[in-house]
Amino acid sequence: MTGSSQDKAPLLEVSGLSVDYGLKGVSSRAIDSVSFALRAGEAVGLVGESGSGKTTTAMAIAGLLSPNARVSGGQVCYRGNRLPIEDDAAMRPHRWSETSVVFQGAMNALNPVHRIIKQIAEPCMLKLGMPRGEATARAGELLELVGIPADRGAAYPHELSGGMRQRVMIAMALACRPSIIIGDEPTTALDVITQAQILKLLGELRSQLNLALILITHDLSVVAESCDRVMIMYAGRIVEDGTVAEIFAKPKHPYTRLLIDSIPNPANGKKMIRPIPGDPPNLVNRPSGCAFHPRCPSAMGLCATDVPSFDKFGRSRVACHLHRSSQEDKVAAHA
């Protein structure tokens, strides 16, 4: 391991975070003991299928959990201070100023009856206390920053294409100079060419403004090209966490390996379909032990009974009974 001296203190630290949703008296755990750290300027992909808890994790960090959600354990710290993630009003000074969210459906997130320049200027007035003229000027700069000519600011959302609307969403997210941007499937509804343009823009903004990025997606290949690190979620837990290079070259968790194999990749020339058996788990009725064991080709007796610990291997972590770190690694991890 290279020394920890190069590792700056984390910007964001999530530890042991668990969130439950109550539904008709039944409570189901959406995320379970999620822990990770995010450094300034780092891009992390949060990958999982629907119901894996990736959006809940992100919404918890931004303090945007729905009213029927309850944080049942753990905490989120920003620059060393614990965030009041369950208290909407107390989160207000933090949200948009420190952590911003770019949502998936830009058409639904923008107000259809206001010109886009006004919508971008609004957070500058409300959160930064700028007078209208200054805020409008700032909104124009933000538009230019995301690649829209400032004179297009007079347009209404319906006059813009999907890609342009997503750019407006990014401009709004940047309005209060946050340090963290959470992208919740920001390119999922877009065509491939537009997706490439938006991902390129996010990458440029990230290095220009030293932004940390949490990219939520179900598409591993998007993460492969735009993130430094990737965390794979399954049934509310992070099952593997590592650098993009490590995870794609040598996935340790069987789920990660199967996910990678299920993406058609002409580059490796293998024209075969390898389905992952079974269906994604039902969170109300989560499988015992390792939640992936009913679908796992390598499952052992132990997997059905014991929840695997999330062990550290060098710079990556994996929660699988096939990979248990030796004592030395554990010592190194705590050092």
Binding site: V192, T194, Q195, S221, I260, S262, A267, I273, P275
Partner: protein, 340 residues
């Protein structure tokens, strides 16, 4: 492949939707403009062949699928099914034999299934309405067969279930079973896996490939995902603004694209291990123009990094660049449109 083996043939097929002009336009006698959703497409699908139709939103791929399944009417060109001209056949009784042989799978299984019908009724519906069974025993047999082919086993367990009791993958299987029940010879599948989780996609693709392998069913697979098209299809047709810009075998289109748009699509597709083409050619600028204002000349020229004067004047015809490989680009044989 000899012509008589084609199950479906499209000749200069056209779907133009007229735009209702304003009063002023009518008074001044201005010509009625049209959205040229499908603007002259030649395509053939062989028996047991899987052809992928690849394009972005607005390329006309869904409209084309709807015309082939007779859910929309073409405004020009011809459509031949097993050599018979189906272009102007209309009306439910006249179309009954056709519907028996051509079926469609829709993208959104949540919307395609009636929430108040059981799985049995959903799959039995086409068999009943096309009067393909004589009695209840036969009906139950055919429904079981279709559910099993779509990978829902044992079929009896699903008969009385409602869509909301099924997972997303199971719902898409029910949609497929509904299409299969009539034992069609051609299935048009419009983005059948794009709403599904990655781990379920491969299962559904496997079902579709099995249908071709076991029942020699032809499949027109509509998608925006080039790697997915490569995985499943024998041939890939690339659509841009209502017209085919390139068609060829899946390997040729993926590894030796000869139209700048196909190259751009390929380079924009994120890949595990990085996309080698990305660094060499810049990302395409701008967006697909409106189909109501199709650019003059080559319709791709305003966005094409290689466009020259000729492209702005005259629309390139499909040019043969290899066996079974056509590209509608003036530079198709020039080498410049080729990727590295």
């Amino acid at each position: 492949m000899p012509d008589n083996a084609d199950i479906l043939r499209l000749e200069s097929l056209q779907v133009h939707f007229p735009i209702q002009g304003g009063m002023l336009d009518r008074v001044l006698g201005r010509p009625v403009r049209a959205v040229r959703a499908v603007d002259g497409i030649d395509l053939n699908v062989g028996r047991g062949e899987i052809v992928a139709l690849v394009g972005e939103s607005g390329s006309g791929k869904t409209t084309l699928g709807r015309v082939i399944t007779k859910l929309a009417q073409p405004t020009g060109g011809r459509m031949l099914f097993e050599g018979r001209d189906m272009t102007s056949v209309q009306g439910s009784s006249a179309l009954r034999p056709y519907r028996h042989r051509v079926q469609m799978i829709f993208q959104d299984a949540y919307q395609a299934l009636n929430p108040r019908h059981t799985v049995f009724d959903i799959v039995a519906e086409p068999l009943r309405s096309l009067r393909l069974v004589e009695n209840g025993t036969q009906l139950a047999e055919r429904v079981s067969e279709a559910l099993a082919s779509a990978g829902l086993n044992p079929p009896g367990d699903f008969f009385s279930r409602f869509p909301h009791e099924l997972s997303g993958g199971q719902r898409q299987r029910v949609v497929i079973a509904g299409a299969l029940a009539v034992r069609p010879e051609l299935i048009v599948a419009d983005e059948p896996v794009s709403m599904l989780d990655v781990s379920i996609r491969a299962q559904i693709l496997q079902v579709l490939v099995d249908l071709r392998d076991k029942h020699h069913m032809a499949l027109l697979f509509i998608t925006h995902d080039l790697p997915l098209a490569w995985l499943i299809a024998d041939r890939i047709a690339v659509l841009y603004l209502g017209k085919l810009v390139e068609i060829g075998t899946a390997d040729e289109i993926t590894f030796n694209p000869r139209h700048p748009y196909t190259v751009a699509l390929r380079n924009a597709t994120p890949q595990i291990g990085g996309n080698a083409g990305r660094a060499e050619s810049p990302a395409l600028q701008g967006e697909v123009p409106s189909a109501a204002r199709v650019p003059k000349g080559c319709r791709f020229h305003p966005r094409c990094p290689l466009a020259f004067d000729h492209c702005r004047e005259e629309e390139p015809p499909p040019i043969e660049v290899g066996p079974q490989h056509l590209s509608a680009c003036w530079l198709a044989n020039d080498g410049r449109s080729r990727s590295s």
